[in-house]
Amino acid sequence: SSLFVFDHKLTMKTCGTTTTLFCLEKLFQIVEQELSWAFRTTQGGKYKPFKVFYSRRCFLFPCKQAAIHQNWADEVDYLNKFFDNGKSYSVGRNDKSNHWNLYVTETDRSTPKGKEYIEDDDETFEVLMTELDPECASKFVCGPEASTTALVEPNEDKGHNLGYQMTKNTRLDEIYVNSAQDSDLSFHHDAFAFTPCGYSSNMILAEKYYYTLHVTPEKGWSYASFESNIPVFDISQGKQDNLDVLLHILNVFQPREFSMTFFTKNYQNQSFQKLLSINESLPDYIKLDKIVYDLDDYHLFYMKLQKKI
């Protein structure tokens, strides 16, 4: 799981049976008390920040989730207690295992803009993979019979050391061409290998862009996720786009199924246009769903694919 805190926004991504939405009340209380940020509206005491996104794919074991997280409708009800301008979407096939849910609030254009009003040219790319190739998944296991072996010095932090080595072994630090050492862009890395298995990493490019990976390699419910806010086409000066990024990730995990989402404010975004015609670039996979949403100030691309038998 990961948390990214910027001056003006935060992103929290948590797996397992975490109770993500239960932080909302405390978070807004702290923001109000410690930063003097007043987002509570007079009517009904709800909050009106600039924008809120909450999303997740369908769970593998929904019954094991705590309280409100067992079903999407309850999560939406809970979110609506905090925000009064939210919309809920169920994207993709509405069956047990093939959809993705999104809750998004209307952009609050009345938010104080300050002297210099600039809006982030935001884009987010997410790939959610299930049924990983067993050999690929085994690279994220560090138990006694694992393929990952590491010499760890006494007193060193084993989880972080092994996380670093898993990153190097799987070349997950080479997803973006400009994260190469000879680039002018800074690159920070923090990874952790869980015992007996599992992996999480945060990587930061150019001080303000991140990508994060989380892997649950266990046979029977293997899963890996990738999320990035890196404007890859711009930052690589046209050498790379999100299709290249996707192909790199698929090569590492070789999932039987995966879905991807891409949010951008700009419909002409190179990666967005490339993803729209992605089919021929993935000969090993067949398309299950391909959907484009025009959401307020964002365009959303969703696609679900399955490996050919």
Binding site: H8, C15, D157, Y164, K168
Partner: protein
């Protein structure tokens, strides 16, 4: 690519949690993803303090409600990246 130096330049690391964390019972990979934009841009913030002025103890308190703990954290000029348990 990342260098070995990255192992030693954490701004925060919980060595005790790192040494004792056990993922044996992990079963649900799919994540819940929450993103809150308080302002459209950092330059839109009208007060002196920002989210990055919230202390580690407060984030620990917030994450406790989520059932997560902080394993480590790295700060850059523009963001704080927390790696969490779970």
């Amino acid at each position: 690519t990342v260098t070995i130096k990255e192992l030693t330049n954490h701004n925060y690391i919980d060595h005790e949690l790192s040494a004792t964390l056990d993922s044996t019972d992990a079963f649900e990979g799919p994540e819940k993803l929450l993103e809150i934009w308080f302002f459209p841009h950092k330059k839109s913030i009208t007060t002196e303090k920002t989210l990055r002025n919230i202390g580690m103890d407060r984030w620990i308190e917030i994450l406790k409600l989520v059932k997560c703990e902080v394993l480590s954290m790295k700060k850059t000029k523009e963001l704080d990246a927390f790696l969490l348990s779970e």
